[in-house]
């Protein structure tokens, strides 16, 4: 098939061609970036936290009128309140293990600092930034963390301290990511490191495979997998307990926990948000990411629908306009398939031109998003897939009107209007 007559014909309705090409270009630019956003959000939501998330729940509560922690003896009073709660929770029939903990991954309540290989480094500098988790010897078991080197905490390692007091643990467990950052040769186990610019050493006695930071914001991206676990029960006028239940008994335990705790003491605050399954924590943490992905998905669908409909509409118009010419071609010996191919080829030309412009627009839009909104660079693969998709969309949309054109009988040529 010769392209020359086709291009000559397209020149006769420049405006329509330009509008369709422009529409395809804009669609390509937006869809590429929107699909990229969707892909990134899905990747973000699917990254594993390092926990075994089934049958895991968190209780956050506060004691009314509890000591502030500033007077002598306050911390011990708070610790006895904590111990009483722990004993009651551990005695529950469906509970496998309980750990008092300051936070959990995805909870967006963070304690961060820095770790250093040498004593007395600046607090903000250090060799690596890290988030801190505080818990007792039940932490690894309760969260379901996978120990890849060394050992977990024993009861003898665990101490208690005031929430706002400083204190350095003799032993710590770190994530493999943090261990490898500090000791790239992989020999971190048994080494002493210094927390928060302190001067007393903490020995790494264990490494866990993976443990995500509590925060989900972009500020934590640089040290998302750097976690340090300290063997402390933190004492404040509030507490959090992570609870692992027997398989399938999560709902029952969630339901029973408030009464068990009120049974220990009524002077406490337990509200609607106090007892949460980890699934709820995950859902809340990623709500906006899932929402953004859904929104982008809806926009893409509308865009593709509108563009496809636009192509159908405009091509139908052109078919109607060229009714007689098609009849003449058919009368002169063109087969039905030739007419079909003509319109398909024409659409391919227009879509191709649109895709080329769209390629530039997609990259331009991505650069704007990178500059203004901290987006990542759009991989070429997305753009190529986008080009293939809009070309396929164009072919799909043009098929119905093109077939109608190919069914124009040759006899039309002999009729005058």
């Amino acid at each position: 098939m010769k392209l020359h007559p086709m291009i000559a014909a397209l020149r006769r309705h420049k405006a329509g061609v330009v509008l369709i090409a422009l529409q395809i270009a804009l669609t390509l630019a937006i869809v590429c970036n929107a699909v990229f956003i969707i892909g990134q959000r899905i990747e973000r939501v699917n990254r594993p936290t390092g926990l075994v998330e089934d049958n895991l729940m968190l209780v956050s509560q506060g004691w009314v009128g509890a000591p502030s922690g500033d007077q002598p003896g306050d911390v011990e009073k708070l610790d006895s309140l904590l111990q009483a709660d722990l004993a009651a929770l551990r005695a529950m029939p469906d509970v496998e293990s309980v750990v008092p903990i300051n936070s959990l991954p995805l909870l967006n309540s963070s304690w961060t600092g820095s770790v250093a290989l040498k004593p007395g480094s600046d607090l903000r500098a250090g060799n690596a930034r890290s988030v801190y988790y505080f818990g007792d010897e039940h932490l690894l078991k309760t969260l379901g963390l996978k120990l890849v080197a060394g050992r977990g905490f024993t009861a003898a390692d665990v101490q208690n301290r005031g929430f706002r007091d400083s204190g350095t643990p003799a032993v710590i467990i770190v994530t493999k990511a943090l261990a490898d950052k500090l000791y790239p040769k992989g020999d971190a186990l048994g080494k002493a490191i210094y927390l928060d610019g302190g001067s007393s050493p903490s020995t790494i006695i264990g490494e866990v495979e993976r443990l995500q930071a509590p925060a989900t914001g972009s500020w934590v991206n640089g040290f998302l997998w750097n976690a340090t676990i300290e063997p402390f029960r933190l004492n404040a006028n509030f507490s959090r307990y992570a609870i692992r239940t027997r398989p399938g008994r999560l709902q029952a335990v969630m339901h029973a926990v408030p009464n068990v705790l009120y049974g220990v003491s009524r002077m406490r605050v337990l509200d609607d948000d106090s007892v949460k399954s980890f699934a709820q924590i995950r859902q809340e943490a990623y709500r906006s990411d899932v929402g953004m992905a859904v929104l982008m998905g809806v926009v893409c669908l509308i865009l593709l629908g509108v563009t496809a409909a636009g192509i159908v509409g405009l091509t139908s118009f052109w078919v109607g306009q060229r009714h007689r010419q098609i009849g003449v071609r058919r009368a002169l010996g063109a087969r039905k398939i030739d007419i079909l191919h003509y319109f398909q080829m024409e659409n391919l030309l227009i879509s191709g031109a649109g895709a080329v412009i769209g390629l530039g627009l997609a990259i331009g839009l991505n650069m704007l998003l990178m500059k203004r909104f901290e987006m990542d660079r759009l991989p070429v693969l997305y753009v190529l897939a986008g080009i293939v998709a809009v070309m396929a969309l164009g072919q799909g949309a043009v098929f119905a009107p093109a077939r109608r054109a190919s069914n124009v009988p040759p006899v039309v040529a002999t009729r005058s209007v």
């Binding site: 400083s166 563009t307 509409g313 405009l314």
Partner: protein
């Protein structure tokens, strides 16, 4: 004449129903997507206190020095206790208040009810006139209550409904953390979004309430700890909440009211003078590097509007543009198909302007129909943003009269703009050409 064009347009639109439906759908969806995301954007980027946001300022003092500055060279965005108290004592602004976020428990008088958790702020008396807190009953406390460390409290109307059945509770007592406080005021549905006076601790938008406002000095005295962020440049040397007050950690918000440019200038000079004094005293080892931003500039610097909201709006506007390009293409096809009709009209003496009027009327009708569809879809969209946006933000998006009006206006104006070129082409149709061939 308009009625005639209206009738012509309706006839023409009826003639090709598929094409008309396509245009209406495209405009409806495009407008609805843009308006839904715009309603969210409008909700989060609005000025929370438009009548005086340009008079309210947030001072920042560089108490940590060059190493801790952010990439723009800005000092910490919150205050440490020592500097906040020094600024309060100097009292150089019309109104000022240091404040920190609290989350105490309230014990209901009815012993059968469990204690509840409330959230709020510890503030100074000048906070109330400064941010124009509206009162349902009573008022804020006085400067005397600040100095005497009175056990008084301002509660929200919501908490008042819960604890006192919505009655005037001024003078009644409330048990907060086991201590009695006298209610002096009940705020009137006050829930500013974003929380411009404490962006650092709320992140701007919050689904929490300002249930209790307590005198700052009193809260410090009873050791009511802060419930927000604490950021430290070095580990506090002492322990507990008192240790935090003696440390250089930042955990407080601070706001001042400055009524005119001269006052702003004077306050800037005061801040620089204060930093220089600290430098001379050996506490700061660097030159003054303070900031004093009014509320809009502060919200901008703190990136209060989530970037997701802006990206959504941008993408939805892109969608609207595509829908309009689509409509322009279809209108072009539709109008040019009627070249012979235009030729006849022109040959019979119709002016170009008449052609313009006729076809723009038709575009306007398509836009109006698209706008009505868009209104319905925007309603659906705004109702379902709760499903795709964070709770604290989604609850702010509302469908109101102005949004409805904007939706219709955008639909009609945009469609008529899209119809301009096709109309221009229609008006250029040569009558002789059309008449000859037939």
């Amino acid at each position: 004449m308009f009625a005639y064009y209206f009738e012509l347009a309706l006839r023409s639109l009826k003639r090709s129903r598929g094409l008309t439906l396509l245009m209406v759908l495209a405009i409806g969806f495009g407008v609805a997507a843009s308006m839904t995301t715009y309603s969210v954007f409008r909700a989060v980027s609005g000025d929370p206190i438009p009548w005086k946001s340009s008079k309210l300022f947030v001072p920042q003092i560089d108490m940590w020095g060059p190493k801790a500055r952010d990439p723009n060279g800005d000092p910490p965005d919150a205050m440490d206790y020592a500097d906040a108290m020094a600024l309060m004592r100097a009292h150089r602004a019309r109104y000022q208040s240091a404040m920190y976020q609290i989350s105490p428990s309230v014990v209901p008088a009815d012993a059968s009810k469990h204690p509840i958790n409330v959230s709020g702020h510890a503030v100074f008396s000048e906070f109330f006139p400064m941010v124009d807190v509206p009162f349902k009953y009573g008022a804020g406390w006085t400067a005397d209550d600040d100095t005497q460390r009175s056990a008084v409290v301002v509660i929200s109307s919501k908490l008042n409904d819960k604890l006192f059945g919505g009655q005037n509770s001024v003078g009644r007592t409330l048990d907060i953390e086991g201590k009695d406080y006298r209610v002096v005021g009940v705020t009137d549905h006050w829930n500013p979004q974003p929380r411009f006076f404490d962006v650092v601790n709320t992140g701007g938008f919050t689904d929490g309430a300002e249930d209790v406002l307590l005198p700052f000095n009193r809260a410090i005295d009873v050791g009511m700890p802060n419930n927000g962020n604490t950021n430290c440049n070095e580990v506090p040397k002492e322990s507990g909440f008192v240790g935090l007050q003696h440390s250089s950690c930042v955990w407080m918000a601070y706001m001042v009211q400055l009524d005119d440019a001269a006052a702003v200038q004077a306050y800037r000079e005061y801040l620089d003078g204060y930093a220089r004094d600290q430098q001379k005293a050996g506490r700061f080892g660097w030159a003054p590097n303070n900031r004093l931003r009014d509320v809009p500039a502060w919200l901008d610097a703190e990136h209060v509007v989530p970037s997701d909201t802006k990206v959504s709006l941008l993408v939805a506007l892109g969608l609207l543009v595509v829908c309009l390009v689509n409509t322009a293409g279809l209108l072009l096809a539709k109008f040019l198909r009627r070249s012979s009709e235009i030729g006849v009209r022109r040959a019979l003496g119709a002016q170009r302007s008449a052609i313009y009027a006729q076809f723009l009327t038709e575009a306007g009708i398509v836009g109006l129909a698209g706008g009505v569809l868009g209104l319905l879809l925007t309603g659906v969209g705004v109702a379902s943003v709760g499903w795709v946006m964070p709770k604290d933000i989604a609850s702010l998006a509302r469908l109101d009269v102005s949004l409805l009006a904007i939706t219709l206006l955008v639909a009609v104006v945009a469609t008529m703009l899209a119809g301009l070129y096709p109309t221009f082409r229609a008006s250029r149709v040569q009558p002789a050409w059309q008449l000859k061939s037939n």
